[in-house]
Amino acid sequence: MANGWAPFIGAVVVAAFCAIVWFAAPKGENQTIWRSTLILSAVSMYLMWAITFLAQLHPLISPIRPGLRPESELGH
């Protein structure tokens, strides 16, 4: 499903969103605030997601359940 390309796809989506926001931001004296707030939010949220995604892309350790000994050790 999700693979190594996902961050790039996400980047494209965010870029598209930013472009839309840039042009669709309500006109008037608050236009700058709308643009900057929405674009920065999108970018920082994307960064956070992408970093989290990348950290799990090729994880070096896997979860271990607490309080249990491996059954193989007990059984044999």
Partner: protein, 856 residues
């Protein structure tokens, strides 16, 4: 030329304007401008004292009216009559005419007289009433003493009456005394003093009497059950009635003196019970009369005050505005010949049209043929920094302004802070549940905004209310980061299918990955409650902090490029921005790249152990060119790349250090060679360089190109009224020292600031652990019970958990996360680009005035 629209990105474009106002409409013009609230008037009479100014008389008169209004207010407080709230008026902000102000002043004068006379008579009456009440108590209590004392008269030795009487006469006259019945004390030459004294003094009173009279007295006292009200300050005092019997005129006089000095009130009591009864009756009657008079006076006073209370708030607002108007008029200079007032003010260039049209309105209303002239003056003075804020941006702007006033037209750090501040907060506060609490709280505050704004809030809550939109953004981002961290009140959020499957048919304890699948959004929830979740999340959050910090600092550093481009100082780009950027990127940009690169590589598939990034960085500095493990590099040619980057960083240091100061010196010397001089350095200049005196005169004119290229000579006035903002003289050593400090600071800060972003990791770890502990200690235990016990136990435990969640995790932890986020902005981010030597814009505005001193 229409100026560009003012946005929050840079402070508003300001222009220094000069107003020529006809003397007759000065007050009206200023009051109209106060309603607009966009002009920051400069004080043109700064050398005169407050008393020498033109409108001191008017201000004094208004001060008096204000005092009278305050007096009404205090009287209303005393009578606990409510004032009609300022918000109940339809439009309390209409500016009144001068005659209306006069009327108001007269009215408040006459009202004050009336109120104070009513008050005075009320207080006199009240005092009289207290006296009568006390006297009644004395009569009643003293009567009791007398009755009791009469029973004991026979035991009093008769010898005291007559010193010559034989001792035995006492016994002989015994029977006579019995028949005497109504024997008076005066016969026995025993006098008495009766009165009332505050209860707390009674012990001292007794002691003093005992000592001074050596025990020659008989004192009786009893408590008045109801407290006596002091009419002067409405305080309740409990008092005692006392009656002292003593022997001899001098002693009685002494007792009187002592009791008066101790604040006792003395009342005459007749020892004859008949007369006493009459006295009581009389007192009661007088009390009744007095009560009815008092009632009348009180109701008249209350009616008067209620009538005042209906308008008092509006009057207060009007007088406040009027006073501010005259105070502003005092800043103007007056041209006696042309009978005009001259004012200078900073105003946003975009508001000039508005100013002109409202001045035209005032002129038309007054029917004056002479128009008010508005001139724009060119000046070299630094204009004040002004950001038009709205409800949403106000909080963020305040955060930045708290650090320092932004330089005029500099990039405003508050604009990106709208997002980055709450986002950094949320990285530390990441928990979906806590985010929801913040979000709902802020929504409630925003929904009841109007109501809350009008009510009085305590300090802590009013601070939170002030930042309600910040809390709103914090809540939104906390929910997001909570989803990313996969935490909701420390519990997992299994939204998507996990990328881990427990081995051994789901029993564990080890797990293996679902092939080719990565958890699509946030952390995998399988990590919750595992043995090694900290191992994973610490590594993840530490790297997350470094990466976010790097992004934030690079972003902030870029603003310095924008600033130097805007202010046309290319040397700041070549001497500060570029070397700084290269230095930063070649070390920490490389570190960030390595983190991402290491993540992107499938080390298991390569069958290789990934190198440690920390060691890599240490080796890069300590042994350039060698790797910790030369056989397993991060990528091919790693050693070479690192050497190049390190050299790049090292080269940047001398550039950062020397380029700007030497360029500035070269530029300065070139200007000198061409004959330019700073304004006002004439004498010294000629001493330094061997210029001729006549040449100096010429060069002086050459240096002032920025001044007065206005159409008329009006602009001259601004030059004289400087506040000592001279051109700074160029001094190479100063510039050099400044640059050395900047270089050292920048290079060290690159390291320490990057490390400083690790607080994101530390705080988020602490927050998560704390909420896990709280859950485990309360709710998890309660879930352990089943049946009725469990149900009953659940209620208090839930409340405990919820209260602790709100107060400890949301309020306390939230405050700490907010402070850390604040620091990241003030120190880590703003040090990269903030210039900040601006002058705040303080417009003359009635709205601001009423906000600062609210009428309530």
């Amino acid at each position: 030329m229409a100026p560009p629209k003012d946005t929050m990105f840079r402070s508003a474009d300001m222009s220094l304007t000069q107003l020529y106002i006809s003397n007759e409409i000065g007050r009206e013009v200023v009051s109209a401008l106060g309603e607009l609230g966009v002009m920051d008037f400069r004080d043109l009479n700064s050398e005169t004292t407050a008393f020498q100014r033109t409108f001191t008389q008017e201000i004094r008169r208004l001060d008096n009216v204000e005092r009278q209004l305050r007096y009404f207010h205090s009287q209303m407080d005393k009578a606990s009559i409510p004032m009609r709230s300022i918000y109940d008026f339809n439009n309390p902000f209409t500016s009144p005419s001068a005659s209306e102000i006069d009327e108001l002043a007269d009215k408040s004068q006459s009202l004050e007289n009336r109120i104070s006379s009513l008050n005075e008579s009320y207080e006199t009456l009240k005092k009289r009433e207290v006296e009568l009440t006390e006297s009644r108590w004395v009569l009643r209590e003293a009567g009791g003493f007398f009755d009791r004392a009469r029973g004991q008269t026979e035991e009093i030795r008769q010898s005291v009456d007559d010193d010559d009487a034989p001792l035995l006469q006492d016994v002989e006259q015994h029977g006579q005394a019995d028949t005497g019945g109504d024997r008076s004390f005066s016969v026995m030459n025993i006098g008495f003093v009766a009165g009332v004294i505050p209860r707390e003094r009674i012990a001292a009173f007794e002691r003093i009497l005992w000592r001074t009279l050596r025990g020659n007295l008989y004192m009786n006292q009893s408590e008045i059950p109801e407290p006596i009200i002091n009419p002067e300050n409405n305080e309740e005092i409990s008092k005692n009635v006392f009656i002292i019997f003593a022997h001899g005129k001098e002693i009685i006089a002494k007792i009187r003196k002592i009791s008066e000095s101790l604040g006792a009130a003395l009342y005459s009591v007749d020892e004859n019970s008949e007369l006493r009864r009459d006295q009581v009756r009389e007192t009661n009657q007088r009390l009744n009369d007095l009560a009815s008079v008092l009632r009348n006076t009180k109701s008249t006073l209350d009616a008067e005050l209620t009538a005042i209370g209906r308008n008092l708030a509006a009057w207060m607002v009007i007088i406040k505005k009027e006073k501010a108007t005259y105070q502003t008029l005092n800043k103007f200079s007056y041209d006696h010949q042309r009978k005009t007032l001259i004012a200078e003010a900073w105003a946003p260039t975009n508001s000039l049209g508005l100013i002109k049209s409202s001045l035209q309105d005032v002129n038309d209303r007054a029917g004056l043929s002479v128009p008010t002239i508005v001139n724009q003056i060119k000046t070299t003075k630094t204009p004040p920094t002004y950001f038009k804020t709205n409800r949403f941006t106000l909080g963020f702007q305040t955060i930045i302004d708290a650090y320092g006033t932004i330089k005029y037209r500099e990039v405003n750090p508050a604009l990106p802070a709208i997002v980055t501040f709450p986002f950094m907060f949320a990285v530390m506060f990441g928990d979906f549940g806590h985010g929801v609490i913040l979000f709902l709280a802020s929504l409630a505050m925003i929904y009841y905004e109007r109501k809350l704004q009008r009510s009085k809030l305590d300090e802590l809550f009013s601070m939170i209310f002030y930042g309600r939109y910040i809390v709103f953004m914090m809540g939104v981002f906390s929910m997001y980061t909570g989803l990313i961290y996969c935490d909701a009140f420390s519990l997992e959020l299994p939204i998507f299918k996990s990328m881990w499957v427990w081995d051994n048919d789901g029993r564990g304890p080890t797990s293996s990955r679902v092939e080719g699948y990565t958890y699509p959004f946030g952390l995998d929830w399988r990590w919750h409650d595992t043995d090694n979740d900290l191992l994973f999340s610490n590594s993840y959050k530490m790297k997350l902090s470094i990466l976010l910090g790097w992004c934030h600092m690079t972003f902030s550093l870029c603003w310095s490029l924008v600033n130097s481009r805007y202010f046309h100082t290319p040397i700041d780009i070549w001497g500060n921005f570029l070397p700084g950027m290269i230095f930063f990127q070649s070390i920490f940009g490389y570190l960030s790249f390595s983190i991402v690169y290491k993540w992107a590589v499938d080390w298991a598939a390569r069958g290789q152990n990934p190198p440690s990034l920390l060691n890599m960085l240490i080796y890069m500095f300590l042994q350039p060119g060698t790797l910790e493990n030369p056989d397993a590099p991060l990528y091919k040619g790693q050693a070479t790349v690192q050497v190049i980057l390190l050299l790049l960083a090292l080269i940047c240091v001398p550039i950062l250090l020397f380029l700007k100061p030497f360029y500035l010196r070269w530029e300065h010397n070139k200007a000198r060679a061409l004959g330019y001089r700073g304004i006002g350095e004439s004498t010294r200049v000629s001493a330094l360089d061997d210029d001729d005196d006549d040449e100096e005169g010429r060069t002086l004119n050459g240096g002032r190109e920025s001044f007065g290229d206005d159409e008329d000579g009006i602009a001259m006035i601004t030059q004289d009224i400087g506040h000592g903002e001279d051109h700074e003289e160029f001094e190479f050593s100063e510039v050099m020292i400044h640059q050395v400090i900047h270089t050292i600071e920048f290079c060290l800060n690159c390291v320490s600031h990057t490390a400083s972003y690790l607080r994101l990791w530390a705080l988020s770890l602490a927050h998560q652990r704390l909420s896990i502990v709280l859950w485990d200690m309360t709710m998890k235990n309660a879930f352990g019970y089943t049946g009725v016990t469990g149900a009953i136990l659940m209620v208090p435990v839930f409340y405990l958990w919820f209260v602790l969640t709100v107060f400890v995790l949301c309020v306390m932890e939230g405050t700490s996360a907010m402070l850390h986020s604040l620091r990241l902005h003030w120190v880590e981010a703003m040090s990269k680009h903030f210039i900040g030597d601006g002058v705040p814009f303080e417009p003359f505005s009635f709205e601001v005035l009423l906000e600062e001193e609210p009428v309530e």
